[in-house]
């Protein structure tokens, strides 16, 4: 049981280490890389001696570009693990981590609310679609969800902005709360923050809930056809019990797996949503940094988005045993067969019950995360 948690933790740390290594490669070794770009720019501006330029590069990126490469690499990785991602170029006097620390909570707030709403909405709609497969509701919903899951989030964001913030000024055009309010747990501030978050959250939910509904439907349909559900019904168990313990829990398994994948997708979408709603979260700063060629801030945003997603995934991994105890307490092969026949083991085997969802249902969320 412990080994499961340790394995997940190590995998998460290795991923973060790999991302920092990759970002060193991008910053230092790519042709036309940011450090050379910065040096060339400062040389062009003139008025600085080569030593001053080096000192400035060092202040911004935290590495001395003249030393041997392995030393630069160790410096970069060491700095990153100590939480030092250098200085921002376009916001002089501000550290990259300082800027992001102010932005990340807003992104996490909007994303988690949006994820919760689309998850619950998708689960409910998907279950109804599976239970009443031939109803008008199921047919209409199939059309709507396939249509919505094909629409890029930036189009939804632009349209929402146009209709609800510009044409009708029902919601604010930009920002996270009305400037001048006292930050804290007081009603005007909370109300203003919610008001500013409604349209960004709506953007994620509109493109997101369809995917959840479709994969939930696929999952429930598969479970409803399973022998152990039929067996439970034929024993005369109350319908509520069958729905909750036999269908409900088992069809949730692939959903929880998707939860981990969709977090990365949401952070990807934040780049568009926050840019259009001028919502100063981490995605907003990522694009702002690119447009002002502030590469140190850009790499910082990239690294911290990744770290946030990796940790979110880790939390999902740690919660997974609650939904599926088999993952930490593997039963022996013989016992599993017996259990599968008796009707307790979802789909008779593997810990992840999502295999039978069908390629479209199982993969759609992954793909949109490109």
């Amino acid at each position: 049981m412990i080994s499961y948690f340790v394995r997940r933790l190590v995998a998460a740390l290795v991923t973060i280490y790999a991302v920092i290594t990759a970002s060193f490669f991008l910053v230092r070794l790519m042709p036309g890389n940011p450090i050379e770009y910065l040096e060339a720019q400062m040389t062009l501006q003139g008025g600085m001696t080569p030593d001053e330029i080096l000192a400035r590069v060092r202040a911004i990126y935290g590495i001395l570009p003249t030393g041997p490469l392995w030393k630069q690499y160790l410096q970069y990785v060491g700095n990153a693990f100590q939480g030092n991602l250098g200085q921002s170029i376009s916001n002089p006097g501000h550290s990259v981590v300082g800027i992001i620390a102010g932005a990340l909570p807003w992104t996490i707030f909007v994303i988690s609310v949006a994820l919760l709403i689309s998850f619950v909405l998708g689960l409910v709609i998907g279950t109804i679609m599976a239970a009443f497969k031939d109803s008008l509701f199921a047919k209409v919903m199939t059309g709507i969800t396939s249509f919505l899951s094909a629409i890029p989030i930036y189009l939804v964001a632009i349209l929402l902005l146009y209709f609800f913030a510009d044409q009708h000024a029902w919601f604010p055009l930009s920002g996270t709360y009305t400037v001048g309010l006292k930050v804290g747990f007081n009603w005007p501030f909370v109300q203003s923050a919610l008001d500013h978050a409604v349209l960004p959250i709506a953007s994620y939910v509109i493109v997101g809930f369809g995917g959840w509904a479709l994969s939930m439907k696929g999952s429930v349909v598969t479970i409803l056809g399973a022998d152990y559900v039929r067996a439970a019904e034929s024993w005369g168990l109350p319908a509520g019990r069958v729905t909750r313990s036999y269908v409900g829990r088992n069809s949730m398994l692939p959903m929880v797996t998707n939860l981990a994948l969709s977090i990365g997708f949401l952070f990807g979408g934040s780049v568009f949503v926050e840019t259009y709603f001028a919502y100063p979260g981490i995605g907003y700063y990522l694009i702002g940094a690119i447009n002002s060629r502030d590469y140190s801030l850009m790499m910082g945003c990239f690294i911290l988005i990744t770290v946030a997603v990796v940790f979110a995934n880790l939390i999902v991994d740690f919660m997974y045993p609650l939904v599926d105890p088999r993952i930490v307490m593997p039963v022996s092969g013989k016992r599993r067969v017996v259990l599968g026949k008796a009707g307790q083991g979802a789909g008779g085997g593997g810990p992840r019950g999502g295999e039978a969802v069908g390629p479209l249902g199982a993969i759609s969320l992954v793909d949109r995360g490109v």
Binding site: A150, D166, V271, T306
Partner: protein
């Protein structure tokens, strides 16, 4: 041939799939022949700016006085080009790695699957944006390669699990006994069995790649030069399309072009899904 016939049968019974297929054909024709017949001028003509729709300009004109419909048609090719290229790269890498790891197992499997897990965990779009921002290229090959960096991992995992179950199949055992070389094992024995799955995923990867590619241009991360839908949206937003109703059509037209294409791809993928999964048809 037999396959095409059943595809047609499925399309006839599944109207959305038929419409999707037809729309895809229209887009392909526009991508192939559009630039031959339609041209977008390079010279600005402010006196023609923001014209309302007319016979001459069915979708009106943009802020430079250029015909919006022509721009949408000319913009089709670069979008589809990068979408297809990226999907080809990603599917190729995904299938090769999936088959190799599933079939060979051992240390290669361990290492490559950890790498794939890593790519599945880290958010793809921010990585693509960061790389594209540093490379700053508008070459379709480079853009496609950047987009494919993250798109292969999911497919590799799925193909691997199929290859794992095939590894113990009788005909694979038979092929092994005959001592067929690895290349033959992978390309002739394993590949045809994962082919259908790959075909569906190819279409879905195309939608993902188009989503990412247009996104790069919309945000202005990829260089704004030439004409494609992402650049059109970027310029429309940059010229205040949200605040003047005059340019609404200029903003909405490329958006509609994207939505129609994406929906068509998804609906057509559904037909392929039914074609290769007879069980779905029975349900």
């Amino acid at each position: 041939m037999e396959l095409l016939k059943s595809l047609w049968r499925i399309c006839v019974s599944d109207k959305p799939a038929l419409v999707g297929g037809a729309v895809l054909v229209i887009y392909l024709v526009a991508a192939l022949f559009g630039p031959v017949f339609v041209h977008v001028g390079k010279v600005a003509n402010p006196s023609l700016a923001y014209l309302t729709p007319s016979w001459r300009h069915p979708l009106g004109t943009d802020f430079l006085g250029q015909d919006v419909l022509s721009e949408v048609i000319v913009g089709t090719r670069p979008v589809i080009e990068v979408g297809l290229l990226a999907a080809i790269f990603a599917v190729f890498v995904g299938v090769v790695i999936g088959l190799a790891t599933g079939y060979l197992g051992g240390a290669i499997d361990m290492v490559l699957m950890r790498v794939a897990d890593g790519f599945l965990t880290i958010p793809g779009l921010p990585l693509v944006i960061a790389v594209a921002a540093i490379i700053r290229s508008s070459s379709p090959f480079i853009l496609a390669a950047i987009i494919a960096i993250t798109a292969w991992a999911g497919l590799a995992r799925a193909v691997r699990s199929q290859a794992l179950s095939l590894r113990t199949a009788d005909y694979i055992e038979a092929a092994k006994v005959q001592g067929l070389p690895l290349r033959n094992m992978i390309s002739r024995q394993l590949l045809p069995n994962v082919g259908p799955y790959v075909a569906i995923n190819f279409l879905l990867t195309v939608t993902g790649a188009i989503y990412a590619e247009v996104g790069l241009f919309v945000l202005g991360v990829a260089p704004v030069s030439g004409t494609n839908w992402g650049i059109m949206i970027n310029l429309a937003m940059g010229n205040g399309a949200l605040y003047t109703s005059k340019s609404l059509l200029y903003l909405v037209s490329p958006m509609a072009a994207i939505v129609f294409l994406q929906v068509a791809l998804v609906f057509f993928a559904r037909a392929l899904d039914q074609l290769f999964n007879p069980r779905l048809r029975a349900q």
